[in-house]
């Protein structure tokens, strides 16, 4: 428990167009996100610490801990059409990685191609924005970030709940989060 006051979310933006990078960065900063912008999928993967076998760099614990804290990314927003590695390719690599697959990914594209949009959403993208991206689109990001946060807290609560169950069988569940279905205590 005891999450620190209002943590700033860190968004990684990926777009090969400098103009679009400037725009998305400004839009995200207006919404109080901390932003890192890169111009390619491979630079994004490098920033995320992903090596080819899908695991994070295997380093001595102390260094890895510092690296993790430096590059904690809460959401990735990427252009679809990029040379070498498309936004879709990047999405796939992120979802195939044990350490990164839970980070929400949003895809942007200037082209409205339903089959493309569906494929991205089916393969794990949380949202698909048509360019030019608007402030109203960026406002839709927060729930995805909050969802990841709640999931983290829920994971912690489930671990501590299990411990509680073995210790005291009748204590009420004080740590229920929004995601858990309510336990029926008294049927009426």
């Amino acid at each position: 428990m005891g999450m620190a006051a209002e943590t700033q979310f860190h968004v990684l933006a990926v777009d090969d167009s400098l103009i679009d990078r400037m725009l998305i960065e400004r839009l995200l900063k207006t919404s109080s996100f901390h932003v890192t912008a890169v111009d390619s999928g491979s630079k994004a993967l490098k920033f995320l610490g992903l090596v080819e076998d899908g695991k994070r760099n295997e380093e001595p614990p102390t260094i890895a801990l510092e690296a993790n804290q430096d590059v904690e990314v809460n959401l990735i927003i990427t252009d679809y059409c990029m040379p070498e590695m498309t936004g879709y390719d990047l999405l796939r690599k992120i979802k195939e990685s044990e350490s990164l697959k839970d980070i929400p990914v949003v895809i942007m594209s200037s082209e409205n191609v339903p089959s493309r949009i569906n494929r991205c959403l089916e393969d794990g993208a949380d949202e698909f924005f048509l360019k030019p991206v608007q402030q109203s689109d960026v406002n839709r990001l927060r729930p995805h970030l909050m969802k990841s946060k709640v999931k983290d807290e829920e994971d912690h609560h489930q671990i501590s709940n299990k411990r509680k169950e073995t210790e005291e069988s009748h204590s009420p569940d004080k740590t229920r989060t929004k995601m858990e279905p309510p336990k029926v205590v008294n049927s009426s």
């Binding site: 167009s17 103009i19 725009l23 360019k131 030019p132 402030q135």
Partner: protein, 155 residues
């Protein structure tokens, strides 16, 4: 001319750019992203657009004047130009690019060359308009005024 008159001139000029279709709502978005902490945002983005566009138009001219035109390459350039013009709200340039891409698909060199002319023309027009607009802004700021942040279209 006093600051008030300059500001009204700026408002009228900006409105005309929208009414004549040179700019669309995306340009308003750009202006809304500008604030005291980022006072030159619009000029910076638009300047990038000018640089980008000039490079792309040069590349397009080169690519279309080859003996064997690489339409994939031409299309890639037009796609980029369409994207950046859309991102800054340069509506007429964007629309000219959309038409251009259709002819790339048909691999029609002559039509593409005509489209390129069209895009160049629209680009020159919007560049002049925006430079005029920025000139007005500089005058206002030099006279100690501020650039209006709200464009009411009701008057």
């Amino acid at each position: 001319m006093d600051v008030g008159q300059m500001q009204r001139q700026w408002i009228d000029y900006t409105k005309s750019l929208f009414l004549e279709g040179f700019l669309d709502g995306q340009f308003l978005q750009l202006q809304q992203l500008q604030d005291e902490n980022n006072p030159d945002f619009v000029v910076e983005v638009v300047s990038l657009f000018f640089e980008d566009s000039e490079r792309l138009l040069k590349d397009l001219t080169f690519a279309l004047n080859q003996n064997g035109v690489d339409f994939k390459k031409v299309d890639a350039h037009v796609h980029q130009l369409k994207g950046s013009s859309s991102s800054i709200g340069a509506q007429r340039v964007k629309n000219a690019c959309i038409a251009f891409r259709n002819f790339c698909e048909e691999q029609n060199t002559d039509a593409c060359l005509r489209c390129l002319q069209q895009v160049k023309q629209e680009y020159c027009l919007v560049k002049n308009k925006l430079e005029t607009l920025f000139g007005l802004e500089q005058q206002i700021v030099a006279a100690g005024g501020s650039i209006p942040t709200e464009l009411s279209f009701s008057g």
